[in-house]
Subunit: 169 residues, 2 copies
Amino acid sequence: MSISLYDVSIPVFALSLTNLAAILDKAESHGEAKKVDPKVIPQARLIVDMLPLSAQIQIACDTAKGAAARLAGIAVPKHEDTEATLGELKARVAKTLDFVKTIKPEQLQGAETREVVLQFPQTTLKFNGLNYLTNFALPNFFFHMTMAYALLRKNGVELGKRDFLGPVQ
Amino acid sequence: MSISLYDVSIPVFALSLTNLAAILDKAESHGEAKKVDPKVIPQARLIVDMLPLSAQIQIACDTAKGAAARLAGIAVPKHEDTEATLGELKARVAKTLDFVKTIKPEQLQGAETREVVLQFPQTTLKFNGLNYLTNFALPNFFFHMTMAYALLRKNGVELGKRDFLGPVQ
């Protein structure tokens, strides 16, 4: 047996996005129990010059969606950043998950050597598919996943590592 | 070209631990500039019932060390959790990085099917090497890496995503 880039990308994003959906369910229940305006929790920040919860979730989703599409060599679907409530953020996660799950193992065959180019306002990053996944997409994805968890946990949502990891076996 | 479990584990841990060392350098400079007792920053917590910075770093290190050893089928070296200052935490990261870098690609040949058993006080988890890496070790490692970053960032250390990702290309 050997492994493919699919094995270490698509199922990883799918599991973690599924966990994020369940975490957001808990956050929504918490907000309802505490009678918090649905727009307040998505605005939570760790410190004023960091992005709020809504952006952490949008970027986590975009990182998964972008990686899935780029590694498959297809166009990255565009999702507008319009979410203002936990319910809307849950829908964003759900549509990201739906897209990620459309990617089939055969679409990632040879993706480890596929050139991936990321254009940022100030710089351009060029990778092969393997380095893009391991050095950029996965760390970035888990960074924003963890920031989302941290913001909710800090604001009283009862979460533990098990919520973050999900069914691991 | 195909990929190996080594490609998506050892270099990933090594890059990220190297980035963590640089992040801790910045934290140390920040603490010195602000004349903070060296034992204060490692005690930072996001909320009282979460682990402090020192434990976040110790667990990140242990996750990398444990994954490297278990996937290579060798004994996991024991590092005692005695660090109380940023300098001591930097040494912990350095010795973890030294260990991780000793693992050679050939030691991970076939590791994707190697059985990995984790004993916890309340439960036992059994994985194959691939699932252990993708569903447990990498998410757990980046979780604690990000918590360490979050704690320092929240406490005024000037950090950005570039510090977290490091030289990605």
